[in-house]
């Protein structure tokens, strides 16, 4: 049970799900073209539907984090790289309000394949 005297520390510390591990080599690097897998998963997922099957470019590798999909189902933390991926508005929406705009979304490596 979290005690009153522990509240301040808890608020200030939180709980990162980052798992620094140099042994886990990233599959992708900045500039790589990727496609979001067209999966139809059950259970808890962080794969936003509007990105499914879409093509984007790796903007940044955030590092290694726990994978929530397997962790939630007791199948282990399966830590992996999480990437910031840039998608052009035109790719996502067909007829966007601007050809210049883009959406950046954070995706676990398991959600991506090379494009």
């Amino acid at each position: 049970m979290l005690r009153p005297e522990q509240v301040e520390e808890a608020v200030k510390t939180g709980g990162s799900t980052r798992r620094p591990d140099d042994r886990i080599t990233p599959r992708f690097k900045t500039g790589d073209a990727v496609r979001v897998r067209n999966r139809n998963p059950t259970g808890h997922t962080r794969l936003a539907r509007y990105t499914r099957g879409k093509r984007g470019v790796i903007h940044h590798d955030h590092g290694v984090f726990i994978f929530p999909d397997t962790n939630a189902h007791g199948r282990g933390e399966k830590p992996q790289h999480v990437y910031s991926v840039r998608f052009e508005a035109a790719e996502l929406w067909g007829e966007p309000t601007s050809l210049r705009d883009a959406v950046y979304i954070d995706l676990w490596e398991d959600y991506l394949e090379p494009a």
């Binding site: 049970m1 522990q6 709980g15 808890h44 962080r46 509007y50 726990i66 929530p68 939630a72 067909g94």
Partner: protein, 99 residues
């Protein structure tokens, strides 16, 4: 609007804005319960988020109060984890209010 966006655009919530973090005391309590149980290690915050996302995904585009989703998610998570069973909560709720 094009293909992939299945959430119908609607007017944003009306101004003037209520910028308080909680619009009712029960929301503040529900928030605090979710956080304290997570910080005590009963579940990860990520697990709670998963339940919350599932509630929101089941009600796309509607104006159900956000904290109602939060409460529903919390109740389901606590039941699945074996901390508070649904019927136990229903019975206790009856004790607190007229029915």
């Amino acid at each position: 609007m094009s293909q992939s966006n299945d959430l119908a655009p609607a007017a944003l919530p009306a101004k003037p804005e209520d910028s308080r973090p909680f619009q009712a005391p029960w929301q503040a309590r529900a928030f605090a319960v979710a956080v304290t149980m997570s910080q005590a290690g009963r579940y990860t915050w990520d697990e709670f988020r998963g339940y919350l996302m599932a509630e929101i995904a089941q009600h796309p585009g509607d104006s159900t109060e956000y904290y109602q989703h939060w409460l529903d998610a919390l109740e389901k998570l606590l039941a699945d984890k074996g901390f508070v069973a649904g019927n136990e909560l229903n019975a206790k709720t009856q004790e607190f209010g007229p029915r």
